[in-house]
Assembly symmetry: C2
Homo-oligomer: 188 residues x 2
């Protein structure tokens, strides 16, 4: 009858950690090398080590519709060529589930798109909450020089679907042009 | 097919407001007079005006399971007799729905209980996230001397059920004893 119990956990808005995470994952560049536009720049970055692009500290709740998964998402600052560090991005496996990101540190964008080709980008900065609606794939992109950190909440049963976006790529990229972030078309 | 659109809104962790709320509600003492243990203290407080006990700044999303409602909750500092200012408290109408509170300012407790009589209290302070599980009634209680403020997220279809807890009351109260918060039984 009771799927979960009351609890609390401190978050650290500056480092992006949280107390007693159930799961931590770190994505190095090698795990998403094909997602960046500049293959030569990827090769150079890998030759110099294999930088961590982003980390997630998760609380894993029961995978039920009325429960809420939550985590801290930390995208590191940096670029591969002219393209800013970004998360892999995903749809939710259960498509009709939204997500909220409350940014606690850094600057960047939440890049979003739908399967039928609509795109959107919302600016992220501390104390801005971004609503990622149901059916929108989403990716965090760090355009600043410190970690981009958010507190994230989404339905318990949402799940992650990397597959479709991993092979096709997002329709837009965010790159540095003339020292500033620019949203450009992804030319396959 | 798309129940909502991407958007973002700034929150103010110090005042508890958010940009362009869809709804704001304020509960004065008169709207919850019977919930405090000390009827004489209630009468005295009402005679001196009708203090606002708490305010909520809401984003109203579609009332669907996969959407997420979110708001800023602001419980003012103060006491009625020895009992700290608190929210009315509620179950969710759809019982199997959880809620997350990320405290941004102040100190206090999330007081919780189940219909079958289990009780719990989690301490609230800035940068602590409290998980209110499905099927637990919950009430914020401000035991400090500044506003107790949280960013709150819950499933789109959850709804509020004040009825049962409004008439029966919570099984516990939080009152000041010897200058400190104490959790005591509610003697009907």
């Amino acid at each position: 009858m009771y799927a979960s119990e009351p609890f609390s956990a401190a978050i650290d808005r500056e480092t992006g950690t949280l107390a007693s995470p159930d799961n931590i994952y770190e994505r190095p560049l090698s795990a998403m090398a094909a997602m960046y536009e500049d293959a030569e720049a990827v090769k150079a970055a890998l030759a110099g080590g294999d930088p961590i692009i982003y980390k997630v500290y998760e609380k894993n709740m029961p995978e039920l519709p009325g429960e809420l998964q939550w985590c801290m998402s930390v995208t590191m600052p940096g670029k591969i060529g002219r393209e800013y560090f970004m998360t892999k991005g995903h749809f939710h496996e259960v498509r009709d589930t939204a997500e909220i990101y409350l940014c606690t540190r850094g600057t960047g964008y939440m890049l979003m798109e739908t399967e039928d080709g609509r795109t959107d980008a919302q600016e992220m900065r501390p104390d801005v909450a971004v609503y990622v609606p149901a059916r929108w794939a989403h990716r965090s992109i760090n355009t600043g020089d410190e970690p981009l950190i958010s507190f994230c909440v989404y339905p318990g049963d949402a799940g992650h679907d990397y597959g479709s976006i991993e092979t096709a790529g997002f329709r837009k990229r965010i790159v540095e042009i003339d020292g500033k972030p620019a949203i450009i078309d992804n030319k396959p």
